[in-house]
Symmetry: C2
Subunit: 224 residues, 2 copies
Amino acid sequence: MTNSSRRRIPEATVARLPLYYRALMETGERQVATISSERLAELAGVNAAKVRKDLSYLGSYGTRGVGYDVEYLLHEISRELGLTRDWPVAIVGIGNLGRALANYRGFGARGFRVEVLIDADPALVGKRIGDLAVVSVDDLDRVVREHNIAIGILATPAAAAQEVADRLVAAGVTSILNFAPAVCSVPEGVSMRKVDLAIELQILSFYQLRRGSGGAASPRERTG
Amino acid sequence: MTNSSRRRIPEATVARLPLYYRALMETGERQVATISSERLAELAGVNAAKVRKDLSYLGSYGTRGVGYDVEYLLHEISRELGLTRDWPVAIVGIGNLGRALANYRGFGARGFRVEVLIDADPALVGKRIGDLAVVSVDDLDRVVREHNIAIGILATPAAAAQEVADRLVAAGVTSILNFAPAVCSVPEGVSMRKVDLAIELQILSFYQLRRGSGGAASPRERTG
DNA sequence: CACACTTTGAGAACGCGTGCACAAGCTCGG
DNA sequence: CCGAGCTTGTGCACGCGTTCTCAAAGTGTG
């Protein structure tokens, strides 16, 4: 029984834990023993009050008058985020984006090992990307089960997204990162996060337009 | 003077407008004249009350007892989002991800034309990706100005992100989509949105872990 | 024209997240 | 051992966003 289950951690806090994790990793390399909420806030790009409140959800890991022990805090956050274990990941849809994700170095470092590449195109099946061979979508269920995949990355065209999501879930995947520009629903008990590049640009475009023809403030990020 | 400036549109609403836009585009192709908030909600993956409130911020474009005129609503949303004009875009950092983004078809359709590719690696400068040649980062300022770029995509390594962001801003870019896993600040009047793939996976990992060893509910998305 | 039915638009209540402000608790110097 | 100086942890107030609810406003039928 870990203390993961002690408190409910707000979704907004969960989304910031990786920022603290990254910041702590960077300071950890610089041989710093403790860090104040203020310094951590600066490194993570948030404000100090938020850092303290966020960390207080994990437990009282700080020492008043001193700060937080970098090593210990790093350990607690990585445990909370599940970065102490390895997560085998499957990527479905090996187009431009899927291929880029397959080659992306940033994943492995955090324990996310891309072990399976899946595509529907027969011309692609069997081809190697890095040191993995692309598997046919016909074998999705088998391969996902064999590798014990819990996290799937969806990088198919929009039209295929829902069907692939269903098949991933049927094969036991309970977390999906969806890059397909399509609404896509999953059953209760399965998490899905969406990343839509076109939507991000459209949001930027909105504020860009407003600034040009009126002068409203920008939505995110100020000078640090 | 458009009615863009009439009301302040909540950030959360702005982030959903692209969903409505996409949903309407898809129904528009099916020759449907009007659409109810309920149907639109279903297509966009949100609830009907939210759709109505969101659309009411744009103005009273619906007809009670009937619904919204698809064509008209589509026009209003695309005008609001600035999709009626073309946005020249620059991508800085032509690695795995940058290359994938350069080849991504989803942008052009919405008026985002990738016109400039920039990288620091001399071995890459001059190489063609699709029908664009990679330009040296030394020429960033000149090229960005020449193409009148307002929106920049940052796909460099973390270490270079802040410097490149600064240079983009100095060259007149006022909207940045940042894929680099680093905190990165921009002056007031410049928008920046972040997309961090590793962070998304870590968030999924958190809930994945909780489900496995306790049974909390999933954070996002339920069955539609 | 009246009435049943549909659907929007918005007022109001609620809940979540943020940020302020400060007490509690620790260290260190004298 | 005491007091000055930090820094955490958290209670509280506020604001934003979501959802409920229902009056207002349209359509269509007899």
